[in-house]
Symmetry: C2
Subunit: 364 residues, 2 copies
């Protein structure tokens, strides 16, 4: 968990005396790299999509070469997912410059693919996150078990040992439930990767390595047509950030994220921002022409990933607590775990707010 | 809960180029008020003790006039406790200037009295704290009940309604347990206030209104003998603060305070600091001759009070979870509540660290 020092916060000021641009000043890092002045939009888009297509095919090769369940298979799925997300994002953002029917169709198929592949990964990381949290909560370095209140221990069949047993049982219950979900997701992913539908997606992505189906605007000059689609995404991102309760998130320990139930309605705007920030980052990658992430936006994106992961882990703990016939000590441990992960949700909002305040583009 | 703005932190710098004093620079607010240059220590101590004795007698009158269980009785107990703590603290700190046998004896009796009176107050405020937290957790303004994950709700007799029921049952259980404890504490306090032992304490305190039994050093010049006893307390306070993990507390969301069990061993140094800070504040009151609290030290003290209250509330939730034969949903709600209060413990450490960093006397 990042422990930022509040005294070291650097908020870069916006330039003074500049006529207000509705989207705020452009980040100089978003400016297209050196191109001939008459380069077309297609000449900017194509190399980026070629490179992501190559990534995708490399992931596919890794998948074919690796046995199921090995580290190689995981690496293959990660590579496939990352490439699919970037291609899909580019098709979405720069759709006005592409063949729209082709872009829509491929994007839908890539969404299906990355959704299917993401599920197994999500189950694995959720299980790891919850097991780590339980281990930290149950013991840690602070001799926590020695500190159990002695009160009521006398005539109490549960006793302080019951809390430790409860943590172990909660861990076993979560492992059972999430392993089952992961096994199902793994089968679904394997089935997807062997399907005719997947082979059609792979063929379409492979074609991208040599040719990108552009629309008429793709032949226009890059400096005239590339900025507008990226600006639309940026505007949507800023609108989404604009409705987040950032002032509240900036004050640590505001206890806004914790409720007995998961609080998914308050999480939704953050999840939506996460998706838009991803689109924005990919749109900027196209303009810069490299795969190097902007460090501050990357930090903001990581915070929103953590927000999503913690929210889903909390929901898993809450769902497990509603398993019939569990022991009270198990339910108690799951309640502590749920609150711990909602606390992480709050911490992630704090981290996002800090990262976002460091972006050069000020929030209006 | 205070929501300090990290950008508005004002850390006063220590004077540069001054020879290091092992206790750091003296706070100018600690300097004795205007006194004739030849005033004795007794002439400083006596008016302070006279005033606290008058406070005590006023509390006693309030108690006699008020019926049991009314607001007046609560106010009476608060006034008695505050006066007893200050007299006791003064007897402790300035013992070298007083008749030591008398001071030790009265201090022991005042400790018995304020301990007895504090118990009822602690039960009441713990119950209020836990009920408020449960109300916040169970509902709040964020439509939390609508956000219960739909997963597993199908074949689940507990369901999301079970979580709300669990919160209500947890509240009822805590109310039952803490009301019982409060009733016992109330009876004990009434019994104490009617006892011969109490009448002896009250007589001793009443005598303080006119005469303070000084030792030989009490006749020495105030500017020669008053500083040293206060400095001893300050040194002990700084030593205690010095071993607190303040760097960790300064980083919000460090998750250091949360464990499945109450973590009382890690709380002890904070509780000890709380007692020493109180002694230090009272010693400074004597030197200043007024009852006006130093605002920053008061804020630090409030943070440590909150730390203690939250730690004890968490322990009460944890103890309630070990009640035999409670429903899993009740135990789950108590687990969330326990974690919520340990989160408050962490927040209080953060708040103390911020207040302490603003004291003019820098921590070595």
């Amino acid at each position: 968990m990042p422990n930022p020092d509040p005294t070291q916060d650097v908020v870069r000021d916006s330039p003074q005396g500049v006529a207000p641009d509705p989207l705020g000043p452009r980040d100089p890092r978003d400016v297209p790299r050196d191109l001939p002045p008459d380069a077309t939009a297609g000449e900017v888009l194509a190399p980026y999509l070629h490179a992501r297509s190559a990534d995708f095919l490399r992931g596919l090769r890794l998948h074919t070469e690796s046995g199921a369940g090995t580290g190689g298979a995981e690496e293959a799925a990660r590579t496939l997912r990352a490439a699919a997300r970037r291609i899909s994002g580019t098709l979405h953002t720069y759709r006005p410059l592409l063949d729209p029917a082709w872009a829509d169709q491929l994007r839908a198929e890539l969404a299906w693919l990355s959704g299917t592949l993401a599920l197994e990964h999500a189950c694995t990381s959720r299980l790891v996150r919850l097991a780590d949290a339980l281990a930290r909560l149950a013991g840690g370095g602070t001799a926590a078990t020695a500190a159990v209140p002695a009160a009521r221990a006398g005539g109490d069949p549960e006793g302080s040992r019951g809390l430790t047993v409860g943590a172990a049982r909660a861990g076993a219950l979560l492992e059972r439930q999430l392993t089952l979900a992961r096994t199902r997701a793994h089968s679904a992913a394997l089935q997807a990767l062997g399907s005719a539908r997947f082979h059609a997606v792979a063929d379409a992505v492979a074609l991208l390595a040599s040719e990108v189906p552009l629309g008429p605007a793709g032949a226009a000059r890059a400096d005239e047509v590339l900025d507008a689609p990226a600006a639309v995404v940026e505007r949507r991102l800023r609108d989404a950030v604009g409705v987040l309760p950032l002032a509240r998130a900036a004050a640590p320990y505001n206890a806004a994220a914790l409720g007995l139930t998961a609080g998914e309605s308050q999480d939704a705007p953050w999840h939506q921002t996460r998706g838009l920030l991803r689109l924005h980052r990919y749109a900027a990658e196209v303009l810069r022409g490299d795969g190097v992430p902007d460090p501050v936006l990357y930090e903001a994106a990581r915070a929103l990933d953590r927000h999503r992961d913690a929210a889903e882990a909390a929901a898993a703990a809450s769902a497990a607590a509603r398993t019939p016939r569990i022991a009270p000590a198990t339910a108690y441990a799951l309640g502590v775990l749920h609150a711990d992960q909602r606390h992480e949700v709050e911490a992630a909002r704090f981290a996002f707010q800090r990262a976002w305040s460091r972006t050069t583009a000020p929030v209006r």
